[in-house]
Subunit: 481 residues, 2 copies
């Protein structure tokens, strides 16, 4: 194809910021674009590429939607028939929010978010951890992503600053670090030990980085893991926190899947662990992230999230406030959704039972699906999948036949991408190749969400199973099983 | 004060990204913080520091809120009494959106925004300009700000890349350019010629920049002007567009105040001007921005906005899509608000008359307030204010007495900040010093919005007038009037 505009000022070759060019974002990469084409051609696509529960039919929880609906349209509250359409606790909560939102939901709020909502978040954290939380250290954001990016922006000073990211990791991190001109320092998670984090491994990566003249600035930990689904033990968390303090790196704790825990090991927040470490914990500079997009709410389209800063220098917090203020204010519906997630109906409230039932039904179904999916993958020849203890994904390893690897090479693509494209073309299932998340050299994985509707799951598994068997028939069995 | 954490990894002195430290954001700076303190102490504050209409009592337009309320709570649509609380066209529109939003408003949409809404935006642009618009070139965003920042991120490659910004300008631009490590190249607007843009001035700034070894990458034009309120003539726009093409810079057209035009000169979009320039226009790389936060909607808290790319290289558009995709999706309520602004009720629809009346009432009131406020400033000794032809602000010049300038020096602050702080302390009026927007050396200005409620305006003007007269009595008359 001839270049339609070779002299463009914004030309992708050499005339666009190199960091923009260098950043990759697999979740919406090649596979996603191919899937969109397939969909546009009228064929079925089963989107398991992204944790977007409501796009796969998960129903929103009723109560928070009712409250936001009323806040959006305050004149409803004065209508004599409002009680026919809305329960009384939703009406009361909407009034409470309107009393505490200067200008209502159509006005910019403080750049850190509305104070009433931040207090609801602080109260939630205090209940969860058994330790007080300070709303001045809580900033609301349009989902967790911009909060994470703003923290990375403060941390990355130049191309000599490195950020420790798990391998595999959620590609927001690698894309953002690249975009900000920093260095991605991948530390491997140990697949055969249930994707656990090894301090030895961290030390090796840091030693190597120092040799390259880099300064390590932060350690990102995703717990429960994305895409890997593991839940950290308290012992491991203490070790990690101590390591961060000793090595003088900020600990960035991505805890957006804290509600999505299906196994016997409970979620514990880094805030709690650090607080309970006493004086030693005071040296841990910690920023934790949460969202309304995951959990059982799955309210991705709202873009609600928060960060909580622990042991962060007040001058640094001022700088963070400034960076937030350049973006003016996060969207107020997203802020309210976060408040509603943190402060749900209580026993005795009109909506309490329905709320609990709805949340529990989604949670139990996710738990069943997590098990169904890892069992199904483990039943396939050449595929192994760690137990999905948490989050919304499975990240199975697939041994690919040599002939398939060669076929991929011929097509100038990674073997995992080739596998996922074949899967998409054969079944409509849109999974993301492991290369988008990072994987140990010579191993191949893919990520699927556990989000297809439960009643659809057997069919998805059947489609997958047939595809995989066909694939092995076409290309032969992998040499190492 | 002793440093509470001198060894912090995130320490504001030397251990935070210098570009973060260097960026300033006046609208929420010293004055805003002082105003918050005043408010916390129980005293009245009249916030004229920021274009946040609903925080000052502007009522939201009813129809779009009704639609969003229904989309938020889709079960309302099935309730037998829904017709008592919502008009039929709001119900129909909500159904239309739900049919076209995969997963509803709780799901991530395409990273560029939902296609149905983007088509509504494209149709609006086509009606406005008389030329077709392509939804593939329209990206929805959380307000205009992140769209602007993402474009600047593509443009600024290193510290040798400069962006032409008007002086005075809206500080989002200077803050973002500084944050991205680029060079701010201010070009002066000519106050005495109604804040018009002079090509000679652009040429001077560019010549100087080239001498400094800089590459000029983009020209930001805010039309109608913020904080200056001028509306560009078509002749001037053609000249600017031609200049951008010849000088190989991308034209970034901030047109968020396009509805807020109060004088006889109409708003014309750069898209229309460039399209009608024929082959010459094809060399103009243009990105235009719009929002739901201004106009008569004033829906700041929704964070809805769009960019339209004209003559941008397809490879650059792909890169922009990637940058948007790292942020996943803008908030869906904000997307819908943008769709509703672009596609309002039509004659014959149940809500048409009320919608038109509400919009017109806000518009006429803003127009009256724009005139009241510039007249009031012009009546004060030592103050001159250009006619407010558009936008939501007045940016009067104030001649300050020498004794006041000295007093400010003693307090180690700019004379305009000193004036605004005295104003705040004496009256509760929160205006922003001109230094936050940029002003010609040796001149002093401040920005106020025209947004205090119309019935409150005479009191605000009285407060201001008394303050200013007292100020001159305390410090003497300025030497030059």
């Amino acid at each position: 194809m001839t270049d339609p505009r070779p002299d463009a000022v914004l030309h992708p070759e050499g005339r666009i910021n190199q960091f923009v060019i260098a950043s990759h974002y697999a979740v919406r990469g090649t596979i996603y674009i191919e899937a969109q084409k397939r969909k546009a051609s009228g064929k079925e696509v089963i989107f398991t590429n992204i944790g977007n529960p409501q796009s796969l039919g998960q129903k929103p929880i009723t109560f928070p939607r009712q409250v936001i609906s009323l806040v959006t349209c305050p004149q409803l509250l004065e209508h004599p028939d409002v009680g026919k359409l809305f329960p009384e606790d939703a009406i009361a909560r909407a009034k409470k929010y309107l009393d505490n939102l200067p200008g209502g939901s159509g006005a910019y709020q403080d750049s850190r978010g509305n104070m009433y909502v931040r207090q609801e978040v602080a109260d939630f954290i205090a209940r969860r951890d058994g330790h007080p939380a300070n709303p001045e250290h809580i900033f609301l954001s349009d989902g967790a992503s911009p909060a994470i990016q703003r923290c990375l922006n403060m941390l990355i000073r130049d191309q000599k600053d490195g950020i420790l990211l798990p391998t595999p990791q959620y590609p927001l991190y690698s894309a953002s670090v690249a975009l900000l001109g920093g260095v991605i320092l991948g530390y491997g998670l140990q697949e055969e030990q249930g994707w656990s984090l090894s301090i030895d491994n961290l030390n090796e990566v840091v030693a190597d980085a120092k040799e390259r003249g880099l300064t390590v600035r932060a350690l990102v930990v995703i717990n429960p893991g994305n895409p890997t689904g593991q839940v950290l033990s308290r012992e491991n968390m203490e070790e990690i926190a101590r390591w961060a303090a000793v090595n003088r790196v900020v600990l960035l704790a991505d805890e957006v899947y804290q509600t999505n825990v299906y196994g016997s090991r409970p979620f514990i927040s880094f805030k709690k662990v650090v607080t309970e470490m006493g004086d030693e914990g005071k040296n841990v500079e910690l920023i934790s992230f949460h969202t309304v997009s995951k959990g059982v709410f799955g309210e991705c389209g709202r873009r609600g999230g928060y960060l909580e800063a622990t042991n962060i220098h007040p001058g640094a917090l001022d700088q963070l406030y400034k960076v937030f203020s350049i973006g003016l204010s996060s969207n107020v519906d997203g802020q309210l959704m976060m408040g509603l997630m943190c402060n749900p109906p209580k026993p005795g409230d009109a909506s309490y039972e329905q709320y609990e039932q709805e949340c529990d039904a989604i949670f139990q179904s996710l738990k069943r699906r997590a098990e169904m999916i890892s069992n199904a993958f483990n039943a396939l020849p050449g595929v192994s999948c760690q137990n999905v203890e948490g989050a919304l994904y499975a990240f199975p390893r697939v041994r690919l036949p040599e002939a398939a690897v060669k076929e991929a090479e011929k097509k100038d693509m990674g073997p995992d991408l080739f596998y996922c494209l074949e899967l998409l073309h054969a079944t409509g299932i849109c999974a993301v190749p492991g290369s988008g998340f990072g994987q140990e050299e010579g191993t191949f994985h893919f990520r699927t969400t556990i989000l297809p509707a439960e009643e659809q799951m057997p069919r998805v598994i059947d489609l997958f199973t047939s595809f995989h068997k066909d694939f092995l028939q076409r290309f032969g069995m992998p040499s190492k099983m």
